[in-house]
């Protein structure tokens, strides 16, 4: 099926600085796609290129198979929700929301009707007569959304729209955004640096780092099966243990580390044996075995036990892995009640829960 939007091998530079390099992104109809990356990764530049605020230096930008690179901002069938909302402060909320229809020369009666509908959709039914300065941050956010959806774009671009809101409001707006996207059936391209937000909202996440795509996939896939050290450590907590690949048997890999042989699984083609790799295992996937002499796994000494309510976070050290703190998250039940710093334990995990990562070349 032809994608709605296709960025094909896009590159962009500012002077001598290459900000995007070989970016390939497709957006499907009705999809909630998140572009996730740290600040300076180039994610906002990607959004500005789609919106038409920036040109590209290489590659192509296609919308339903048509080349978009020569189409100006105001002729692209997309609308943007800006990070600072960029509301027109001299207009009322209703005038802000109706602006897109007004500049298209629609009749006043039609504009008034659509504005009322859209304000209802975003839950601001009675506030059309107010000015943006008279509204709270969350309400302004909804005005910006209403203004973006009124022209029924094929795609909405959202540039870290929740970053200015406090934690509680942010969670509420996340639920609202997700349900709005479902109801409207419009593709959302959402930019954020917040991995929890990305996981909670997205159908698909593209992880960007230093102007390149690190990995893309469904949130669960990215979380469970990271393929690069960056993705493994940027999305949630991860223990990364370095070693060399000793043996491969199908998906199952044996990694020779300073602390002994460890099991992991690989997605796609395995690297050559003998190459430098990392074993990535989530703190919640590590099991503790009180018998330090049990076969397989990693022996370690408890350094710290932190009670977090439902969970405990246990930090452990292995003398063969200097500087590496191994983190283990367990339910705070009886099995960890007696655990004290200084205790020797054995750490084990299912090979399926440990991802083999190739070191960056």
């Amino acid at each position: 099926m032809q994608p709605l939007l296709h960025l094909n091998n896009v590159s962009k530079r500012y002077g001598a600085v290459r900000v995007l390099d070989g970016i390939d992104i497709t957006v499907a109809d009705n999809e909630f796609l998140t572009i996730l990356g740290p600040s300076g990764s180039g994610k906002t530049t990607i959004l500005r290129i789609i919106g038409g605020f920036e040109g590209i230096d290489g590659g192509s930008l296609m919308f339903e198979g048509r080349d978009l690179s020569a189409v100006p901002i105001n002729r692209r069938p997309f609308n943007t929700v800006f990070q600072d909302y960029a509301l027109f402060h001299h207009m009322t909320v209703a005038e802000n929301v109706g602006y897109g229809l007004k500049v298209r020369g629609r009749p006043k009666a039609e504009i008034a009707k659509r504005v009322a509908e859209v304000l209802d959709t975003v839950g601001l039914g009675t506030l059309g007569g107010r000015y943006p300065a008279q509204m709270s941050g969350g309400q302004r956010q909804r005005v910006a959304l209403a203004r973006a959806i009124i022209c029924e774009p094929r795609l909405i671009l959202l540039d870290e729209p929740l970053s200015a809101l406090d934690v509680e409001l942010r969670a509420q707006m996340q639920r609202f955004l997700k349900s709005l996207q479902r109801r409207l059936g419009i593709a959302f391209v959402f930019i954020t640096h917040d991995q929890e937000e990305a996981i909670a909202l997205s159908d698909r996440i593209i992880v960007v780092n230093r102007g390149r795509i690190e990995q893309e996939g469904a949130p669960e896939e990215l979380y469970r099966r990271p393929r690069t050290p960056f993705t493994a450590s940027f999305l949630g907590d991860n223990n990364l243990i370095p070693g060399t690949l000793a043996a491969v048997d199908g998906r199952l890999c044996t990694v020779d580390t300073a602390a002994g042989l460890l099991d992991a699984t690989v997605d796609g083609p395995a690297p050559a044996t003998g190459s430098a790799v990392l074993v990535a295992v989530r703190p919640e996937h590590v099991r503790l075995d009180a018998d330090p002499a049990a076969p397989h796994g990693l022996s370690a000494e408890v350094a710290d036990v932190r009670f977090l309510g439902a969970n405990v976070m246990i930090e452990l050290l292995n003398p063969a892995l200097p500087g590496a703190v191994i983190k283990v998250r367990r339910l705070a039940d009886g099995s960890v009640a007696g655990l004290r710093p200084g205790a020797s334990v054995r750490l084990r995990w299912a090979a399926d829960d440990a991802a083999l990562l190739q070191m960056a070349p």
């Binding site: 605020f53 105001n74 027109f88 602006y99």
Partner: protein
């Protein structure tokens, strides 16, 4: 907490007070003399009782009224023309490459910063070279030349403050450049536009030296005032000076209000 320094506060107050008195005493004296004329009674100087006679005489003076109307026409026309030019220069400055923008800005500022006598003289020579007869048109051109920088500065500051995000939002919603200018940029800049025009109006209204070079047979109010002084002092001069002062003060006050309104947007 603000530190209290009574001695320093008192000293600053004193300096400011003396400064203000030095600035305003001559104006107050002029205003007072326009209401209470000095008269010689049996060989002694004294003040006449309160009277509006100089103002009545002023309004009856056809030459002064003609000069006033010339001044109003010149100030209105030149400040509006300057506004249009200043807007164009300011838009150019924010969109052009930095070097070109600064070169343009220097050229805009120079006529204002040069000694008026140089600006006036060069305008006079230029008008003669292109064979433009001196009169209302040359006065307006000359005024535009030296008030554009003032409007430009006011407009540019506001434009830079607006930034690009509102323009981007407007284009993103499907508006053309012209619609963006009309519905978003100009309304957001209105306080700056009004205060720029008022400032330009006040400066144009008061300008004398450059106008002298290019006026030809036309007479603006300051030139009329200058001419009256040369042939001998009459009480109307005090009245006229007082009126000009009051008008300028009112305009300045209005500019202050506009700038506060601009900060709120």
């Amino acid at each position: 907490m603000k530190q209290k320094a009574p001695f320093l506060d008192a000293l600053l107050g004193l300096v400011a007070g003396v400064g203000l008195i030095a600035l305003y005493a001559p104006l107050l004296a002029t205003a007072a003399l326009s209401f209470f004329q000095i008269v010689r009674v049996r060989g002694k100087l004294g003040f006449a009782p309160f009277s509006l006679d100089p103002y009545v005489a002023l309004l009856a003076n056809g030459e002064i009224l003609a000069a006033l109307s010339t001044s109003l026409v010149v100030a209105t026309m030149s400040s509006l023309l300057a506004l249009v030019l200043a807007l164009m220069f300011a838009f150019y400055f924010v969109s052009a490459r930095r070097g070109l923008g600064i070169a343009m800005q220097t050229m805009v500022f120079l006529p204002f910063l040069l000694p008026p006598i140089i600006t006036g003289l060069s305008l006079l020579i230029a008008f003669r070279e292109i064979d433009l007869g001196r009169g209302l048109v040359t006065i307006i051109i000359a005024h535009v030349v030296f008030i554009v920088p003032v409007v430009y500065r006011t407009v540019l500051v506001r434009l830079q403050l607006l930034g690009s995000s509102l323009t981007e939002a407007s284009l993103d919603l499907g508006a053309s450049r012209v619609q963006t200018l009309r519905y978003v940029i100009l309304p957001q800049m209105r306080p700056a536009l009004i205060s720029g025009v008022l400032l330009a109006f006040a400066i144009s209204f008061d300008e004398t030296l450059i106008t002298l070079f290019v006026a030809g047979s036309q007479t603006t109010l300051p030139i009329r005032l200058w001419a009256m002084m040369r042939v001998g002092f009459v009480p109307e001069i005090n009245a006229l000076a007082t009126l000009i002062f009051l008008c300028t003060a009112a305009i300045t006050f209005a500019i202050g209000l506009m700038q506060r309104a601009g900060e709120r947007v």
